[in-house]
Symmetry: C2
Subunit: 305 residues, 2 copies
């Protein structure tokens, strides 16, 4: 099986149904590009698409979808709760199978160059694909949003990585990058005391000294009378879900509070769950090749080449 990449492009359109469907259409149609999920949010005025497949069909479909978005979205008349600098705002590539982060970064760079050539939209590279250290963080690249960046782009500090130092007149700029997959994982606790969730979030997240690849906050689920430790796992291989769950459980015991349930929000790679199954079931020498569906995917994937 060849390399498989995941891609989660974000478009600045969450309201006009016809435009949303027109943007998504190439992802449905293109052979070898699997449209895993797409969700538009009217408040954010934003469309988030999840794709997976071989790099070639993914890139072809992205270019087609981007051209539709650029033709249909005018950022001068765009309002929404979510920060953005472009009609096609962010395109992160994620190495899924048979692909290193270096290869994924090279893919982001090559795609960014071609994207600019075909659309005229300037490109910034972020996260693993960043060419300037401060651009690793998306927040830095998007500072001031479309409206602010229109002026700021002439400052050498804010020059695009690909293209001239000015924004596209209606489509702004696009941020393209490579990153690891992110798993959104929440742990709900049997108490209504939100301080406990906040304390536990502090104990497990990287920013306050916990696990290096976990971000998190504590919040109240008021309707349910529970609290939630809401987590983003930025490297599920290094910070396994079972380890996070058991760490939260251990901390919660300090207050005699039980783990009521957990939630996986959105997509998750099979390995993140198989790894936890193998831990709890104590499976020795387990290989993903033993899982019928993963083996089938490999077989069907190699046929498609």
């Amino acid at each position: 099986m060849g390399p498989i990449v995941e891609c989660v492009p974000n478009f600045s359109e969450g309201r006009r149904r016809d435009v949303i469907e027109a943007i998504v259409e190439p992802f449905r149609r293109r052979r070898g590009c699997a449209l895993l999920d797409y969700r538009a949010d009217a408040d954010h005025n934003r469309l988030v698409v999840s794709l997976a497949g071989a790099p070639e069909p993914i890139q072809e479909a992205l270019l087609e979808a981007a051209k539709t978005a650029i033709a249909q979205i005018d950022l001068n008349h765009h309002q929404g709760a979510h920060p953005r600098i472009g009609a096609v705002d962010v395109i992160p590539f994620v190495p899924l199978r048979n692909m290193s982060m270096e290869e994924c970064t090279a893919l982001a760079h090559a795609f960014g160059k071609r994207y600019h050539e075909e659309t005229g939209v300037p490109v910034y590279f972020y996260e693993e694909a960043a060419l300037r250290p401060e651009r690793r963080r998306l927040e830095t690249v998007r500072k001031g949003q479309y409206e602010g960046l229109k002026e700021a782009v002439s400052d050498p500090e804010r020059h695009p990585d690909v293209g001239p130092p000015r924004l596209h007149p209606t489509a702004g700029a696009t941020v393209i990058g490579a990153r690891k997959i992110l798993v959104a994982f929440n742990v709900n606790l049997g108490t209504s005391d939100v301080r406990i969730a906040k304390e536990i979030a502090k104990a497990v997240r990287a920013s306050s000294g916990g696990l290096c690849h976990v971000k998190g906050i504590g919040l109240a689920l008021e309707d349910r009378g529970l609290v939630q430790v809401s987590l983003n796992v930025t490297d599920y291989e290094k910070n396994a879900l079972y380890r996070i769950t058991e760490l939260v459980r251990m901390e919660a015991k300090r207050w005699g509070v039980p783990v009521v349930e957990t939630e996986i929000y959105g997509m998750v790679p099979a390995a993140a769950l198989l790894d936890s199954a193998a831990y709890y079931l104590q499976i020795a020498d387990f290989s993903p090749d033993q899982v019928i569906e993963l083996k089938m995917l490999e077989m069907l994937g190699s046929e498609a080449e």
Copy 2:
């Protein structure tokens, strides 16, 4: 995504490499038929193939492979440790996704009819596809093996389900059926006292009153100084792996013996492990559609149609 079937055909050839490769060739080549695994055993003089895919390509590839096996294998000159009545000995179909057991049984019956028409080899139906209750058990169908059945086939009790009451002169007969997937699951315990493994096997297996879809024995792993509860799970949806593991662990506590590790032997469906991950991680409202690879498989599968 259309129906996906698993199939584990057994051929009576485990020694001649060229014949083995010629039998397997159509499974490699046929688009939509994934060759998950194949292993030949010289002592058993037998080839076991694992396939998965849509019913159509699987059947086409099976017929092609069967014709090669029938042309190349003469049971009158075949010896091996494993019981057999045919050059193509057994073909079980297993419903994997989007397929009921009734549909799988219908598939076995339709395939059996066509198989006989195209090869002249008589067919017996077994397990869920059995047309006579006593033929549910493979042992009953195969009683006396090729040599014994040559005579016995004329007895109305032993008449084939499809075809005249005589064996193919070199290729014997073939047993075709439908059954649930089987998971081979072993639990290794930290003791050298094999009586403990035997007691625990008794406690968990159906034949002595345990879980209804578990078969099992206790045996010694002498090289390692451990004992093993060796299990076959014939319905992993009704008897989940986590429940079996925790039941064995609970029984082992009676003697202060720990579970050292477990083993999954051969292929396992993703759901059997995801189910255990969801149990231990306490994931609420988990859907397999959230698993990137399963969703991709569904997408690629529907493309192939």
